[in-house]
């Protein structure tokens, strides 16, 4: 046990018992971040802020929400939106923050791909990040069901039904997930449990692991320059701050992040108060009605790209049913980003995309293709739309098939 002296103050008292000074050094003032970064490196902190918004507004909503198919819609649209002081604000913030989280996740993810931050020792950062993406997807999907509007019900119906495509046990799996033969009260209450307890718990744990996994390989930088963090941090501590290539997380890195967060939150509140339909689809303000199928069923915008991969295969090929091909493609689309570090056969070259001869085209094609998939995932799949979706889905899969060859080819070039 440490020697306990009479303390010189509160901090010292705590330090003797909890080593708060050492803790602050490790977590904040001597957690080193490269200096050569741009605002895209602030997306992680923006996501933390958004998650905080989701957590706090979620707790407030939870005080009035009623997970019962006869009460849910009115508890959200009457009690929360009209009766509770600023209830509408908490709900709008919750809904818009969910959508904004996905926008920032996509920017964060594409930043990681562009700057090669998923490989050469940073694989675990990437993989835990993708686990977070999947956990957030499940969180968003389960949350979307809770207001028990038309799209809550029909999206749940369509998406849970996808599991029937699993060979042999598919139909039983669907019933197991729903807790009933159709989407019903049992489905709502279990999705409520997932949304407010299990998934947030998983997300918080994985966020901790995601941060932890950053500590050893360190944060990447704009040029993918390999830094000797020991030497650079020593320079900083000696006062050669301008010469050092690193800065401490607090206050230097975070001072910039606060600015980015502030700028982002300005846009966020504008969306919350004036432009929220993209995140809170009007059709979900109509109560769920199992007898009335909406004319167009589509998921929230952030699921459209992989929904379109599923839907893109609309005709049977070589004796295989369109539905089965679509399902396989859908499963691949959902896990392919996870294995990206291993599809890249040039693991030592972490240069940003614009410095890589072929990969840069691969990257921008991926961005454009995912946007095409997103837009056509919402459009009615008729006529030429179906074909655009099909081609975009094939290109998407093709890009990931081509990636090992492209990177292998680049690796050969690097070796010469």
């Amino acid at each position: 046990m440490a020697e306990i002296r009479k303390s010189e103050g509160l901090i010292d008292w705590l330090d003797q018992r909890l080593a708060v000074k050492a803790f602050m050094r490790v977590m904040m003032t001597e957690y080193w971040i490269p200096k050569n970064i741009n605002f895209l490196w602030a997306m992680g902190v923006v996501l933390v802020v958004l998650f905080g918004v989701l957590l706090v507004t979620g707790l407030l909503l939870l005080m009035y929400y009623k997970p019962d198919i006869n009460l849910a819609f009115d508890s959200v649209n009457y009690t929360i939106m009209q009766e509770v002081e600023y209830g509408w604000l908490w709900r709008h913030m919750h809904g818009v923050a969910a959508s904004a989280t996905f926008l920032i996740i996509y920017i964060h993810l594409l930043t990681g791909i562009y700057y090669g931050s998923y490989k050469k020792g940073r694989e675990m950062i990437w993989i835990t990040g993708m686990v977070l993406f999947i956990a957030f997807s499940a969180e968003a999907f389960s949350g979307y069901m809770l207001p028990w509007g038309q799209m809550s019900y029909w999206a749940a119906q369509v998406i849970t039904n996808l599991f029937s495509g699993i060979p042999l046990i598919g139909d039983d799996v669907v019933i197991w997930i729903r807790g009933d033969y159709v989407v019903a009260d049992a489905t709502l209450t279990r999705f409520f449990m997932l949304h407010v307890v299990l998934l947030p718990l998983v997300i918080i744990i994985v966020i901790a692991v995601h941060f932890y996994s950053l500590r050893f390989p360190h944060v990447n930088n704009q040029e993918s320059e390999v830094l000797n963090f020991e030497i650079e941090s020593k320079k900083f501590l000696e006062g050669r701050k301008k010469e050092s290539k690193v800065v401490p997380f607090w206050p230097v890195f975070l001072s910039k992040d606060f600015f980015v967060v502030g700028f982002f939150m300005m846009i966020f509140f504008a969306l919350v108060c004036y432009q929220f339909d993209f995140a809170m689809d009007p059709i979900n303000f109509e109560p769920a009605n199992s007898m009335k199928t909406p004319a167009h069923i589509y998921p929230e915008w952030y699921f459209l790209w992989n929904y379109e991969v599923l839907r893109g295969f609309f005709f049977d090929i070589g004796g295989m049913a369109a539905m089965d091909i679509g399902l396989i493609a859908f499963v691949i689309a959902n896990i392919v980003f996870m294995i990206l570090p291993f599809l890249d056969r040039n693991p030592m070259n972490t240069a940003p995309a614009h410095k890589r001869p072929v990969f840069k085209y691969w990257f921008w094609l991926l961005v454009v293709d995912m946007i095409v998939l997103t837009v056509y995932g919402k459009l009615p799949p008729t006529g030429v739309n179906a074909w655009v979706g099909f081609v975009a889905a094939v290109i998407f899969l093709g890009l990931f098939i081509a990636l090992p060859f492209i990177t292998k080819y680049e690796a050969k070039g690097d070796a010469q």
């Binding site: 509408w88 910039k256 502030g262 919350v272 837009v375």
Partner: protein, 284 residues
């Protein structure tokens, strides 16, 4: 400079995606329709001026056997429940009928209710419409009735009042404690579909859609059971405004709070920027 370039690229792709999934996708899902027609142009206009006194006699002889005119103290002969089982639907009160409905529409409705309401897919010889045709009246007599109906009350009707007279026979507004006058089971057997509660319709359909939809439901939804009721543009605006006051009650608060929240974040951003500049001056 590099940061600005990166920001421009991020904003560009975000904007393209937004445009694609919102305005563009919605324009594809809800094809363009002709604007609302408050002239009810396909109904032949009245060519004669009505006589109020004559109209009063005609209304007393022909209408009040089924309709109430509460503003004159004339109560309906039956309760809502009885009326619904007798006619299939509760007949409307006529206190403001001549004011809230378009005059040409009313005339067309008296002559041929099924065409005026655009319900020929629901009613015909096999299943007659509750309101009989008054085509046996002369053009002058119809004009008299319309003129009288427009003269019953001089005070302006409230937004909620228009809703209750024009919509409240079938639609409930439960977030404002209004229950449809006709029980839903009757509506279902009368029109073939239940009339939904419209408490949140302003958020699910939006004012712009409702503007064209209420004016002519059949144009917007094929085979829909909802009749064209013939509200004037001003009365329809009152209905939509009432729907907004119930379903989007916090709109004003939302729009004024929005500016304050944005302003707060702007000040935060400015201070954060100054702090950042100060901190980074030491390291750059």
């Amino acid at each position: 400079m590099r940061e600005i370039k990166i920001l421009a690229i991020v904003l560009f792709f975000t904007a393209v995606t937004y445009w694609g999934v919102e305005p563009y996708a919605h324009s594809q899902m809800h094809p363009h329709v002709a604007p609302a027609d408050f002239g009810f142009k396909e109904i032949a206009p009245l060519h004669v001026n009505g006589n109020v006194d004559n109209g009063k006699v005609l209304v007393e002889a022909n209408c009040i056997a089924c309709h109430s005119i509460k503003s004159l103290g004339l109560e309906a002969p039956m309760s809502f429940e009885e009326a619904a089982s007798a006619y299939g639907i509760v007949p409307p009160d006529l206190s403001h009928a001549g004011v809230i409905y378009d005059k040409n529409y009313l005339a067309g409705f008296l002559k041929d209710p099924v065409s005026a309401t655009q319900l020929s897919h629901k009613f015909g010889d096999a299943k007659p419409y509750a309101m009989p045709s008054f085509s046996f009246l002369s053009e002058q007599e119809i004009a008299d009735v319309v003129a009288y109906l427009g003269n019953i009350v001089s005070t302006k009707i409230s937004d909620k009042g228009v809703f209750e007279e024009a919509c409240g026979r079938c639609h409930s507004m439960k977030y404002d404690g209004l229950k449809a006058q006709t029980p839903n089971t009757f509506i279902k057997s009368y029109l073939g579909a239940e009339a939904p509660d419209v408490s949140m319709m302003i958020r699910s359909k939006k004012a712009e859609y409702l503007h064209t939809f209420i004016n002519e439901p059949l144009k917007m939804v094929e085979g829909i059971a909802m009749p064209r009721v013939g509200l004037t543009e001003a009365s329809q605006a009152q209905v939509v405004s009432y729907m907004e006051s119930v379903g989007d009650r916090k709109k004003a608060e939302r729009e004024s709070l929005g500016l304050k929240l944005i302003g707060f974040m702007a000040i935060f951003t400015l201070i954060a920027y100054l702090w950042k500049v100060q901190i980074w001056r030491e390291v750059e």
